[in-house]
């Protein structure tokens, strides 16, 4: 910035200046071509290819930690729920509940393109869904029946059968007496029925709780739950249907749940915040630029450089990675915000430089400083690229590319776009820039050391109190009404949690089922302690072949022996030995082994399809996998006990999606913290090369501001999250720029540097700091860090400005 050439180049018109101008024009045109290509590529990506960013947060894990089968299992669970809307309409009187439900459905049916009511069990009621089990009656027993068969005497069994035979209403029985004389099959079906409290009633699905009868309505969303246009149509439709139901039955309780409700609440919050926070920051920045430059051109130019930065980053990152994660876009785009400094720096320098010096010459003078700023940021972010996390690598590459493209835009275009007469200084800009002279300066004397000691102590106290939190649940803020409905619905329907389950794997389907059975045995203890109410598993319906054959042998050995209970029954009803023989044959005929795939494909298996992953993995390592879902879990502190029931050696794995995502956030926070420290270190080394012993002056402002901000979080008890650390990285990027600006050797240069700092800091406060007002916890965390940190950097940085000489060339001073 202080190259001797600066002062001489100002005389202009020298031949090297001309060739420079020609080369500059050629480069500017070349850059125009590059930008056109970028625009074209982005248009192709988003409009033609309809590229969409990854949203799965587990995709951010290193691939060695990433488990494809587990991923598939989760997608299986989520997909089965995502496109559903579940509604419960309850009334003390069942008739009123059905009337309300009919009114509700009538409204929904008018919009078949949005929501379609699912047939529910009505089809099952008519279709003979038990047919798939009928041929295997002899192979199916409940655990209670097994123990009864082992303990009860033949006499007890014959009496039971006779009771069933004579009873007018001997409990539930299926078909003729002679097909199920001991009621075993009925009992097994009864046990299966108890896996859900939902029952068909009058052609509807019915749940009873707390003296209310509920109609269960299941609806399929016809468009993506995350489509904002679908949300804007579906939510009013549901509200309208709810009103219709209330009209039919004023006391009806309506409970609604579905992913779309959460998604809609999220986008609604985001869009209303966008409107207020976004408008606030835009107005603020425009006003700021207007007051400083009396022109809107600067803001347009700053926006242009950042926009080209983002476009370039998008294009090249997509080409490099073949995909991008949503998180990359969010943070990458915000880190590209550092690029504003290049544009603002150039603009302020232009404002503070004599009109005789043309913009190209000015650029040559600014180039070393600009290069140092870019280099510092690039080196800082490269640390992130060295971590094993694909998301961090993407973010680093995205940010570096974005900065590079924005920087090149400033270098190649701004001299041509901005001339000495483009900008006019305003009294406000003058006053601001002159205030640097009166700003206190940090001196390495007794008072300075005392101040440093006090700060060190306070910061140490604050930092020691700093806690961390990586809990994903702390990052969500869902309206309480939705959470209440969700909890109520979960209790009423006894649904399993979709985020926690067991993943069972094996070499064959049979092995998977056997492992499920072993797992269920281990879970009996927890069911007994009422930690969970039960499990949903395919093996409940289709036991392993080993179990099926064991059950058949058990029945044959206890009930079907020639002298067993059948003989006693025959004696009681006066039938001959032939009858016993016929009955034995008749019952033994229902011994066809039941196979999981056949069950899954049958209508009876339809509700359980999400539990069976079937064949997975590559051809050379075929594996089978299934999900065992946990019902009635309400105390989440007991999760470790459930995890302990999984025995990984036996192919059973406890999957806790919530914990997994929290783990991702934890790793990212840790690695990001190391990347931040590494960035401070490398940037400091770089600055040392240029500023020698004064390098600490440039790095002190962001470092002190960051320490103070973190200490403040420690003192106020706000736990540290990934999003705070990411903001700290941005703070470093901007803060180092300010440090570099303010090492200018002359008062006059420091004045426009100070103006640059002010503009940049206020823009950053307006664009990032205002996010502190957001209701979304991650944005709030990010924004609050930026708000406090930026304000501090802004205020601290002039205290560490380099010692400036008051000399200035008279011909450079503005007229």
């Amino acid at each position: 910035m202080t190259e001797p050439v600066d002062k001489h180049a100002g005389t202009s018109g020298t031949p090297p200046g001309k060739s420079l101008r020609g080369a500059g024009r050629a480069l500017a045109l070349a850059w125009l071509l590059v930008v056109a290509v970028l625009l074209g590529h982005n248009a192709y990506l988003w409009l033609v290819q309809r590229a969409s960013p990854d949203t799965d947060i587990l995709a951010l894990l290193p691939s060695s930690r990433h488990d494809d089968v587990m991923q598939q299992a989760f997608v299986h669970m989520v997909d089965s729920a995502q496109q559903k809307v579940v509604v419960l309409i309850g009334e003390a009187d069942w008739d009123k509940a059905t009337q309300a439900a009919s009114a509700y459905e009538a409204v929904i049916r008018k919009q078949p393109a949005l929501l379609q009511p699912m047939a529910g069990d009505a089809a099952q009621l008519q279709g003979d869904w038990l047919a798939s089990f009928d041929r295997s009656r002899l192979m199916l027993l409940t655990p209670e029946q097994r123990s009864k068969l082992r303990s009860d005497s033949p006499q007890q069994w014959s009496q039971l059968a006779l009771g069933n035979m004579y009873g007018a209403f001997g409990g539930p029985k299926l078909g003729a007496w002679q097909d199920d004389p001991f009621g075993l099959f009925s009992g097994w079906v009864q046990a299966r029925a108890q896996e859900t409290p939902v029952r068909p009633r009058d052609g509807r699905l019915f749940v009873e709780s707390g003296g209310r009868s509920y109609v269960l309505l299941l609806m399929n969303l016809q468009q993506s739950a995350f489509s904002i246009s679908a949300q804007q149509q579906v939510i009013p439709l549901l509200d309208q249907a709810g009103r219709a139901a209330k009209q039919a039955a004023p006391d009806a309780e309506i409970i609604t749940a579905g992913v779309i409700l959460h998604a809609a609440a999220g986008s609604q919050q985001a869009s209303s915040e966008m409107a207020t926070i976004g408008a606030g920051s835009l107005i603020g920045i425009v006003l700021l630029m207007w007051l400083t430059f009396r022109s809107l051109k600067p803001i347009a130019l700053i926006a242009l450089s950042i926009a080209i930065g983002c476009l370039g980053a998008l294009s090249v990152s997509w080409l490099l990675f073949g995909r991008l994660h949503l998180l990359t876009l969010v943070f990458g785009a915000s880190l590209v915000g550092i690029a504003q400094d290049y544009a603002i720096y150039f603009l302020c320098a232009r404002l503070g430089t004599a009109a005789q010096i043309d913009s190209r010459t000015l650029l040559r003078r600014l180039l070393p400083g600009l290069a140092l700023m870019l280099l510092a940021a690039v080196i800082g972010y490269l640390g992130m690229a060295l971590t094993p996390f694909p998301g961090l690598r993407q973010m680093a590459v995205f940010s570096v590319l974005g900065l590079l493209f924005a920087w090149l835009t400033v270098i190649l275009w701004f001299p041509a776009l901005i001339h000495a007469d483009t900008l006019r200084s305003t009294p406000l800009a003058d006053r601001c820039s002159h205030s640097i002279g009166r700003w206190p300066r940090f001196h390495a004397n007794r008072n300075g050391y005392l101040l440093a000691a006090v700060f060190a102590v306070l910061a140490a106290i604050g930092l020691m109190r700093l806690t961390v939190s990586d809990d994903i649940r702390a990052l969500q803020k869902t309206p309480q009404r939705l959470i209440d409905d969700q909890i109520k619905l979960g209790k009423l329907l006894d649904t399993p949690t979709p985020a926690q389950f067991y993943l069972v794997r094996g070499d064959t389907a049979e092995q998977v089922l056997q492992r499920e059975e072993q797992l269920k045995q281990r879970l009996q203890d927890l069911i007994g302690k009422k930690l969970i109410s039960g499990v949903q598993a395919v093996s409940n319906w289709v036991p392993s072949q080993r179990q099926q054959h064991a059950d058949r042998d058990l029945i044959a050995a206890t009930l079907l022996t020639p002298q067993g209970p059948l003989a006693a029954i025959a004696a009681a009803i006066d039938e001959p030995a032939q009858w016993v023989q016929d009955m034995r044959q008749r019952l033994s005929a229902h011994a066809e082994p039941l196979l999981p795939q056949a069950f899954i494909d049958s209508p009876a298996g339809q509700p359980w399809r999400h539990l069976w992953l079937g064949k997975t993995g590559a051809q050379y390592a075929t594996q089978y996998a299934s999900i065992v879902a946990v019902r009635g879990l309400n105390d989440y502190r007991q999760l470790p006990l459930l995890a302990a029931a999984a025995a990984p050696a036996d192919g059973v794995q406890w999957v806790d999606k919530v914990a997994d995502i929290s783990a991702v956030l934890h790793y990212y926070r840790e690695y990001m913290t190391w990347a931040l420290l590494a960035a401070y270190f490398t940037i400091f080394l770089l600055l040392t090369l240029r500023y020698r012993r004064a390098a600490w002056r440039a790095i002190a402002p962001p470092l002190l501001a960051t320490l103070a901000t973190l200490a403040l979080f420690g003192l106020t008890g706000q736990p540290l999250q990934l999003f705070h650390v990411l903001a700290c990285l941005l703070l470093l990027g901007l803060g180092v720029d300010y440090g570099i600006f303010l090492q200018e050797p002359t008062d006059r240069h420091q004045r426009f540097s100070w103006l640059t700092v002010g503009l940049s800091a206020i823009s950053a406060l307006l664009s990032f700091g205002l996010l502190a007002l957001s209701n979304s916890p991650p944005l709030h965390a990010f924004g609050l860090t930026m708000l406090i940190g930026m304000a501090l950097v802004w205020l601290i940085s002039p205290c560490f400005r380099g010692a400036a000489s008051s000399s200035s060339s008279p011909h450079e001073t503005r007229q």
């Binding site: 035979m165 409990g171 009864q190």
Partner: protein, 209 residues
């Protein structure tokens, strides 16, 4: 699950008709007359004689015993011959006792259909037959105070599971005939019907508590 329901719903419907087939609100005119012909006691007890003809068994199965129906409480079905067994249906559970042991038990908490059956049953005992009308098509005839009603389930699935039910009676239900699709056939004849507070013994009353 659905089969279980069908059976239980069928039982419920049967009891409903049997105990209080007296208030068919919106049914055909003969049904309304039948309803008028029936008395509506709070407690009713009597003897039953049951004849069952099961497929695969040559001889008819004969049994008899005592039954009680108490409005607001439930139903007690005590088989005495050829061997004792008791079936009790209340708000909270359906329990079958045999030789002092619980042979079968369905709790309302575990099996919501139990509550549903009871709800249907008790609403019917209170004289609201709209529930029954919803499940069955009622077709009746009455002549000189003697009547009969044929019940056909509206849902094809239900109809297939329970088959046809036929009721005969005068001031009370005298006879129930059930013909199941599986071929099993049941006929129950009621006699010696008593009503009023003294109809039920103290022991029977205690079984409802």
């Amino acid at each position: 699950m659905t089969m279980t329901l069908r059976k239980l719903a069928a039982c419920a419907a049967f009891f409903a008709v049997f105990t209080a087939a007296n208030t068919v609100a919106e049914a055909a005119a003969p049904v309304a007359q039948i309803q008028a012909a029936l008395t509506k006691p709070a407690v009713m007890c009597g003897r039953f004689d049951q004849t069952k003809q099961l497929t695969g068994i040559k001889k008819p199965l004969l049994s008899n015993g005592r039954f009680c129906v108490a409005a607001g409480k439930g139903i007690l079905w005590q088989t005495l011959q050829p061997f004792p067994s008791t079936l009790r249906i209340t708000r909270n559970a359906i329990v079958q006792m045999q030789n002092g042991r619980v042979a079968m038990r369905l709790d309302a908490q575990q099996e919501p259909v139990v509550k549903m059956i009871n709800n249907v049953l008790f609403s019917l005992l209170a004289g609201d037959l709209s529930q029954l009308d919803k499940l069955f098509e009622l077709d009746g005839a009455i002549k000189n105070g003697n009547w009969n009603v044929a019940l056909k389930a509206r849902e094809p699935g239900l109809a297939k599971a329970i088959g046809d039910i036929r009721l005969e009676g005068a001031a009370f239900v005298n006879k129930v005939i059930m013909q199941e699709a599986s071929g099993d056939h049941t006929e129950i004849v009621f006699s010696a019907i008593q009503t009023g507070d003294k109809a039920m013994t103290a022991e029977e009353g205690a079984m409802f508590d």
